[in-house]
């Protein structure tokens, strides 16, 4: 029997709604992914709109230099009987009160909200310098071992497992570790060991006492270094692995030793990548708060780390004449506790009553902080892209 001829077109599109379902599902997925993008952009815009007016101004030089170059201070707001508000610092407050005389009505003080944020910026910079210095040294050396020397085996597995786990340790636990290890136990050279010293090794001219570094840049920097260590190791190892195997084989074939190979055929090609990737580590170190809470940060400090009450060095000689003092003063910067931007933001957000003046300081600090961190992250991404275009093997 011949098939019944149908009038339907056998090549017609599918009518069962599959196409429609495909489109709907695709749009649902698209909307889902763009939600995250929109939220991110909205948060950034919010901070920009609220924070930019504090940091920038409409007059020359367009940047609020006072906010960026002064130390944080208590803000005094004085109101007169006509309802005018004067914002000033401690010294200005008395002068204005005297000038207003009878016309003075009320004075409000808002902690930490006056002045600028130079102290926190400097503190964060110092912490980042120490932590990135330490972490780069340890991390790159570790990555070289993992990429160039290690053979499969128990040790390698152990190291990889440790790196993975280190990356998952909560930042506040790093803070506890830093407190226990660096603030309270790390070794220092002193003449007389303190009571709390765990043990002391007499060296004749001095004593190596395990009594800790106290809360200072060094403690905080070392703690942060271990927080970012996994990031640096992973990034550096990837960069080393990206150098083609042929480079190593050529070098070895010419009779170079393993170290010469690494030194002359691998590192030169990997270094730019390592450095750009470690910028991400800098951003991370600058942004962490919990590890420095107990190891380095102060809520308030009215001096920069190098401003100390020391007699000035004799002016007649060059700095080399007193180089030992100059060096010890320079190193003294790192044994000071500092303010740090993230901790400053925490203090502003959680420890003082909220009002319009506090809000201005908050958004200003957040904006500056975010611009610093975001530009670091962005430059890392851009540089990496450029490097990828440059080195094509």
């Amino acid at each position: 029997m011949s098939p019944v001829p149908t009038t339907e077109n056998p090549f017609a599109g599918d009518n069962s709604g599959i196409q429609k379902r495909e489109t709907i599902a695709r749009w649902a997925l698209r909307v889902g992914s763009y939600i995250v993008v929109i939220i991110t952009v909205a948060i950034m815009l919010h901070i920009f709109i609220k924070g930019a007016p504090v940091t920038f101004q409409s007059k020359w030089p367009f940047v609020n230099t006072q906010f960026l170059t002064e130390l944080p201070a208590t803000l005094h707001v004085i109101e007169d009987k006509q309802g005018n508000h004067y914002e000033t610092d401690v010294n200005g407050a008395d002068a204005i009160k005297k000038k207003l005389g009878d016309n003075f009505r009320a004075e409000k003080t808002i902690s930490y909200s006056g002045g600028g944020i130079l102290g926190p910026i400097v503190g964060t910079a110092l912490l980042v310098i120490v932590s990135v210095g330490v972490a780069l040294f340890l991390g790159v050396a570790c990555a070289i071992y993992l990429s160039e020397y290690a053979k499969h085996g128990k040790f390698l597995e152990l190291v990889r497992l440790a790196i993975l786990n280190l990356a998952g340790v909560p930042s506040v636990v790093f803070g506890l570790f830093g407190l226990g290890a660096f603030v309270l136990t790390a070794p220092v050279f002193v003449d007389v060991p303190a009571d709390r010293s765990v043990f002391a090794i007499p060296l004749g001219f001095t004593t190596l006492s395990f009594e800790g570094w106290d809360t200072c840049v060094l403690s905080g920097g070392f703690t942060l270094a271990f927080v970012i260590l996994p990031v640096i190791i992973t990034a550096s190892e990837q960069c080393l692995q990206a150098v083609p195997q042929g480079f190593r084989e050529t070098s070895m074939a010419l009779g170079a030793t393993r170290w010469q190979t690494i030194r002359y055929s691998v590192l030169p090609f990997a270094t730019p990548g390592i450095l750009t990737s470690s910028i991400l580590g800098i951003a991370r170190a600058a942004g962490e708060t919990a590890p420095i809470m107990f190891t380095a940060a102060l809520a308030f400090k009215d001096k920069l780390p190098w401003q100390k009450d020391l007699p000035p060095l004799p002016a007649d000689a060059s700095i080399f004449a007193h180089w030992d003092q100059s060096v010890s003063r320079f190193l003294g910067i790192f044994t000071e506790s500092v303010q740090a931007l993230p901790y400053h933001i925490y203090t502003l957000a959680a420890k003082i009553p909220q009002n319009e003046y506090a809000e201005r300081a908050q958004y200003g600090s957040v904006f500056v902080f975010l611009v610093l961190v975001a530009s670091l992250a962005a430059s890392s991404v851009l540089l990496r892209k450029r490097l990828r275009a440059k080195y094509r093997w």
């Binding site: 992914s33 995250v36 993008v37 071992y145 506890l176 919990a290």
Partner: protein, 645 residues
């Protein structure tokens, strides 16, 4: 013929094997370099070990210290008092729900009068706020001696009047008032000056209205009001006895603690004296030591004073139980509203349970022994299963872990619940559907989130998200959502949202990697079978990558539990187990977390105290949790690996 002389050359063997190595201390420098790098590689292992060592060093003493504290707590008789005092707290809960029921009932009659009164007083306050400056100047001027010339006073007065008139005109008067009343209010407000202390007549009428209505309501629900008062009063004789005992126990404890401090001080001084060589110094140390001596507290005698009252206490408890049971029996069934009725019913059911709990507690008094040693397992149990974290208390510090853990877990649960669909959807879309340009937009933006410092997100939670959630929760068409309208701006849900946002980049990148790693052949095979794109994605690619996605979720969970600043700033920091009886609305309650408590309290405690050690114990647990989560993630990734072709 002479053979051509071969040029003398060293034998090949020796050339090839000639050692050209320089050695340093007998070791090949290549080995040294290798060891150097290998040593650095082990730094990760060393740091992990060091973290463990230092956490344990500061924290492990917690168990003996806390054990000692709990022992004092028992020996001084504080525990004895708490046996009765703890269940007695239930009375307040019950009585407060009765009070709520009463106020709900009263409102059925007096609500409109009260609202009108409150609205009028609110308006008055607003006027006063707006005219503060002028009225202040006027009152200051009036107080001046010698009095100012009348002309100047008149000027000030007219200024005040002008300000009041302007303010009263600018206000919006709610619909609660009729047009005539509104006009009268405006007129009265415009006449407000600091010199007139009497309330404007309309306000007086409104206040009187409310008082009358309230009295009327109170007579109507008199039985309820009376029941509540009786119920509250019933605890008084019992509470009096308990308070007396508590004071006695507290004294004992303080003396015992003081003795201990002095005693350790004395022993330390004596030890120092034994080591000291200089006789003068030695004598002064010994003298100091003898000064630091007090009589040891006779615990057995003092505890006798407490335990001897056990019978009296039991009688009081029995009396109390009977009174409240009787009160429950006669609790009126009529209440103003349905809600009030359910509340009253709950109380009626709750009272016998409470009475039973009190009787049970009283029965425990007999078996309680002051000299029963506290075992180490009790201490471990008290830490891991303790339901209260109380510090700096004048009564007794408790370090119970459950409130913190429950806060952390609920927040993490909310965060994962929100972050998982979003990040998996984003990963599927970018990996399978997005065009190159879309990828170039979505990926960097999501990766950028990682660079946002957590303290900034916490600040956003305080300044933006908290208000947003609170405003949204007050929208009338969303009132069906459990927990709306919310009480606290800073709560677990807020923290959960922000943590979800933080976890998205981690979960997104790892999920996307997992999808990327699905072998090409699977996709080709699916395509060849005629599957549509959607079918390929959801029936082939996602199932094949599920192990990676699951491990991404677990790693996200690790990140969320360990996050500190966001929860510290946003979670509300109330140390209490969330009240899950409120249903899903419980997520809008504030809570405290494992990480938050360390960050908040560690800065304020002295080293070596039990509080300090307890915080390090929390750190140890956090560390263990992070290791466990990592291990699970790896295990999951390995478990579901058969898809790797």
């Amino acid at each position: 013929m002479d053979r051509p002389t071969t040029p003398s050359r060293p034998p090949l063997r020796s050339v090839l094997l000639r050692s050209r190595k320089h050695t340093v201390l007998g070791v090949d420098p290549q080995h040294l370099i290798r060891w150097f790098f290998g040593g650095n590689a082990s730094i990760a292992v060393i740091v992990l070990v060091l973290i463990m060592i230092f956490l344990l060093r500061e924290g492990i003493d917690f168990l003996p210290t806390y054990r000692h504290e709990l022992q004092t707590y028992r020996r001084a008789g504080l525990e004895f008092c708490d046996i009765i005092d703890q269940p007695l707290q239930q009375n307040q809960t019950l009585s407060s729900s009765l009070r709520q029921a009463i106020s709900a009932s009263l409102e059925t009659l007096s609500k409109s009068a009260r609202d009108r009164r409150d609205a009028a007083f609110l308006l008055k306050r607003q006027i006063e706020d707006k005219t503060t400056r002028t009225s202040e100047s006027l009152s200051q001027a009036l107080e001046k001696t010698p009095p100012l010339p009348p002309a100047e006073l008149a000027k000030l007065r007219s200024e005040v009047q002008k300000a009041a008139a302007a303010a009263s005109a600018s206000l919006t008067y709610p619909d609660l008032f009729s047009a005539a009343e509104r006009e009268q209010l405006q007129r009265e407000f415009a006449a407000l000056t600091p010199e007139v202390t009497d309330l404007p007549p309309l306000l007086q009428t409104l206040a009187a209205d409310f008082t009358a209505k309230d009295r009327e309501a109170r007579t109507k629900f008199a039985s309820l009001v009376q029941a509540q008062e009786e119920f509250e009063a019933a605890t008084e004789p019992l509470q009096a006895v308990v308070d007396e005992l508590k004071q006695h126990a507290q004294e004992t404890k303080e003396n015992a603690v003081e003795f201990e401090v002095l005693e350790t001080n004395r022993l330390r001084l004596l030890e120092a004296a034994a080591k000291e060589k200089d006789p003068d110094e030695k004598a002064s140390l010994i003298k100091e030591a003898s000064a630091s001596f007090t009589e040891a507290v006779n615990l057995a005698e003092r505890i006798q004073a407490i335990t001897s009252r056990a019978t009296e206490l039991r009688e009081q408890v029995e009396k109390y139980a009977q009174v409240i049971e009787k009160a429950a029996a006669v609790l009126p069934t009529d209440a103003g509203t349905g809600v009030a009725r359910t509340m009253v019913n709950d109380v009626r059911e709750g009272i016998p349970v409470h009475a039973q709990a009190m009787r049970k507690a009283a029965a425990q008094l007999d078996s309680w022994r002051w000299d029963k040693p506290v075992s180490i397992f009790t201490v471990i149990g008290a830490f891991f299963f303790g339901t209260s974290w109380i510090t700096n208390s004048s009564w007794q510090d408790f370090f119970g872990f459950v409130p913190l853990l429950s806060g952390s877990l609920v927040i993490a649960f909310i965060a994962i619940l929100i972050a998982t669909p979003v990040s998996v959807v984003a990963a599927i879309y970018t990996n399978q559907f997005a065009s190159e340009r879309e990828k170039e937009l979505i990926k960097p933006v999501i990766e950028f989130i990682q660079a946002i410092p957590s303290v900034v997100l916490g600040f956003i939670g305080i300044s933006l998200v908290g208000n947003l959630i609170k405003d949204v929760s007050e929208w009338s068409w969303l009132q069906w959502v459990p927990g709306f309208p919310i009480q606290e701006r800073l709560n677990m849900f807020n923290a959960g949202c922000l943590l979800a946002f933080m976890a998205v980049p981690t979960m997104f990148s790892l999920s996307e990697d997992a999808l990327n790693n699905v072998p090409r052949a699977y996709i080709d095979a699916s395509d060849a079978l005629g599957a549509t794109k959607l079918q390929t994605v959801f029936r082939v690619i996602v199932p094949a990558g599920i192990s990676g996605i699951l491990s991404a979720i677990l790693l996200g969970l690790g990140r969320v539990i360990g996050e500190t600043m966001v929860v510290l700033l946003v979670a509300g920091n109330r140390i209490a187990i969330p009240d899950f009886s409120a249903g899903p609305g419980a997520i809008f309650q504030p809570a405290h977390t494992l990480t938050g408590i360390i960050a908040q309290e560690l800065g304020e405690v002295s080293r070596g105290s039990s509080h300090w050690q307890a915080l390090f114990m929390v750190g140890i647990v956090l560390f263990a949790i992070s290791l466990l989560v990592n291990w699970c993630a790896r295990a999951v990734a390995r478990r579901f690996e058969p898809h790797k072709a």
